[in-house]
Symmetry: C2
Subunit: 414 residues, 2 copies
């Protein structure tokens, strides 16, 4: 059997599993998840042994220490994975939920009901805990999942999935692609008759490649070039707190800000104190001309800086002529991820919230709050930068589709 046939067989088995999973009752799925938790805990030694193979191979292949650190599974990390699975058992099951219902003049009653999507392919890089996280979210929502992690984590991923496929589950509910051959991805991405959705998680390059090759619908998680705009009517203490949080609390993630926009009306008063606070937090500043007049330690920002996703303690700073120019800047340079305004003026805030076309827009709150957990979704499979199906933080509901259930008493089309 060649790779193409292998991948087709694998996907067919997942499709069969998805049909059984779609009919599985919530209570049963929750019981399964608790068994998965147990199984992970019981298999710590096995998982660590598999992980040691990956670490060994990674060392030989010359992976950086940061990469190796992401790869390593300690007792604690494995226990955290298990707890994560248990937490998903406690979440509400969206499957079967009636989204809306109505009756037509001819008496037929229509319900729009949530159903699983079917088979979901998740392609991701490095960290093996994603295997457990993604698998249990797909399982909870009645979907079969095909997981394709980084080749450097193959043994760890296989061991985690083996533990999670507890007895009694529909066979092949959770499948890790058992080969590191890159061509396997190409073959899988052609199977639009068997796989319903692909979610790539990782760097921009991975996501672009997947989007380009895939015949399966893809939900993309691109970069976050996020902004805070501090308006003339802002409370300065609040603004400073929000900017520091949005930049410094965790600079390496997509909802951290990369550019600070300041209203010209308050630039001379606010910018020096803000720059001081940022500098105290080890943030390197790159400013436009007006910023550099007010902040001595800011270097000159180039056009590229406005587009940059630093993912680091670097911040581009620009002085703008009020909310209109702030919106224009965000529209031109931003990535439509998460953007915030700080202002005490309701009309100004409403203009910003309406006109900035980002997946999350904030008034007087930090962009770092753009997150499934913070929004109360209980779990998050990622933050979509697409506008189709799911936008922004994706929770369990976004892993479902729907169908129309129509009940009549003999209605026909006239």
């Amino acid at each position: 059997m060649d790779l193409k046939q292998q991948m087709r067989l694998l996907a067919e088995r997942s499709r069969d599993a998805s049909r059984a999973l779609a009919r599985r009752a919530t209570k049963k799925k929750n019981g399964d998840l608790l068994e998965m938790e147990d199984a992970i805990e019981r298999n710590v030694a096995t998982i660590k042994k598999a992980n040691a193979k990956d670490i060994e191979a990674g060392r030989k292949a010359g992976l950086s220490s940061a990469m190796l650190d992401r790869l390593i599974l300690t007792d604690r990390r494995i226990m955290e994975m298990a707890v994560g699975v248990r937490d998903v058992a406690a979440l509400e099951d969206p499957v079967g939920k009636v989204i809306s219902e109505w009756t037509r003049p001819n008496g037929m009653r229509i319900q729009k009901v949530r159903v699983p999507i079917g088979v979901i392919l998740i392609i991701y890089e490095s960290r093996p805990n994603v295997t457990a996280d993604a698998a249990c979210l797909c399982f909870k929502t009645g979907n079969a999942v095909i997981l394709r992690g980084g080749s450097e984590a193959i043994h760890s991923n296989l061991a985690i999935a083996e533990a999670m496929n507890v007895p009694g589950l529909p066979p092949n509910s959770i499948t890790v692609v058992p080969t590191t051959d890159r061509a396997a991805i190409d073959e899988l991405l052609k199977l639009d008759d068997l796989i319903n959705l692909c979610i790539p998680r990782g760097g921009e390059g991975l996501i672009r490649t997947v989007a380009e090759k895939s015949r399966i619908p893809v939900i993309k998680h691109y970069k976050g070039v996020c902004h805070v705009y501090v308006d003339r009517d802002a409370d300065f203490d609040m603004a400073e707190k929000i900017v520091i949080n949005a930049k410094c609390q965790r600079p390496g993630v997509c909802n951290a800000i990369e550019t600070l926009l300041i209203d010209e009306k308050i630039a001379d008063k606010f910018l020096p104190r803000m720059a001081k606070a940022l500098t105290e937090n080890n943030v390197e500043l790159r400013g436009d001309e007006r910023t550099r007049q007010l902040v001595s330690n800011a270097s000159a920002a180039t056009e590229d800086d406005w587009y940059a996703e630093y993912l680091d303690l670097i911040l581009a700073v620009r002085v703008v002529k009020g909310v209109g120019e702030a919106v224009d800047h965000i529209t031109k340079y931003g990535s439509a991820h998460s953007d915030a305004i700080v202002t005490g003026n309701k009309a100004t805030a409403e203009k910003f919230l309406r006109e900035v076309d980002s997946s999350s827009v904030f008034w007087n709150a930090s962009t770092r709050l753009a997150d499934g957990g913070q929004y109360g979704f209980g779990a998050e499979i990622g933050i979509s930068t697409d506008k189709i199906h799911a936008r922004g933080p994706m929770g369990l509901e976004e892993l479902t589709s729907y169908k129309f259930v129509v009940v009549g008493d003999g209605q026909v089309r006239e």
Copy 2:
């Protein structure tokens, strides 16, 4: 400027239009739609003149009379287009609607609000009235639209779009691709940084090609292999009425049935009368062995018949061992479009409605009712056979995305 640059420029202009349209108030958009209606009515002569060019070219190219009939724009068809545009003005605007809202323990208030998708590319075949229908639905939902119709209708489509781009509209709100060069589609389908969604409408070949080439998310409208299953507990009069309607009322459309499944328990009583009624309605029958024992004029169905979308007065008929086998048949051979059960037994119906994974499932009603108009959506851009973003009949809501609007009073991530 080569074709690639031309298409990029065209899409950039649509993107700019989409930004203006997203901010346009509902009242203003409704006024625009009424002006479009007027403009179509005022331009009947111009549109007919353009259409005459297409008809002339079509005759020379040897188009079939059916094709020419689909292409021709009579006064009546143009007036119907205009009325269709007016009807869309009267529909509720989904943009700005709050889908859900909640407050988090930290006090931040979250609203999930409907917003336009952005730029929508619609690729379709033949009938020029689709130009007006699709354009006004996209416009109403604040989206810019790029329309690429069949090359045989290019003059008609350009004339319709020219009439609809009434003064005062954001420039390039409605764009018909001004070339019949097929390579233009390939170029457009690469522009995932400018175009947010592609909806191909037409034959399976067109849709497959688009899905294969596109980097833009695609919502597909594939075929309908629909079924009625008549259960042992069915009311025979109701079953006969539903089957005749589902097969004969308009056999050439996707929600007409192609296969009839009959419970073995009632086959000898029900099938002969059903076959008689179908035959009286000029339906050719192709049956399995049991059917042929009971119905003398049924020919033998082959394996291919169970997969077939006849779109014609032909019906495949199979006797099954109750609802379980009916579900299995539909799962294996169906296209997950629209399927119905006729039964007086609630438990049997519920099993069917739950286990048949089709975009619409009916209990005691005709599959022909799977339609945006029949569901009360007011308008329909198509019937999606995908499970991502939109499934089944797509109305105005399905032409929108959403964003999270978060209001706080200084909240940061802890």
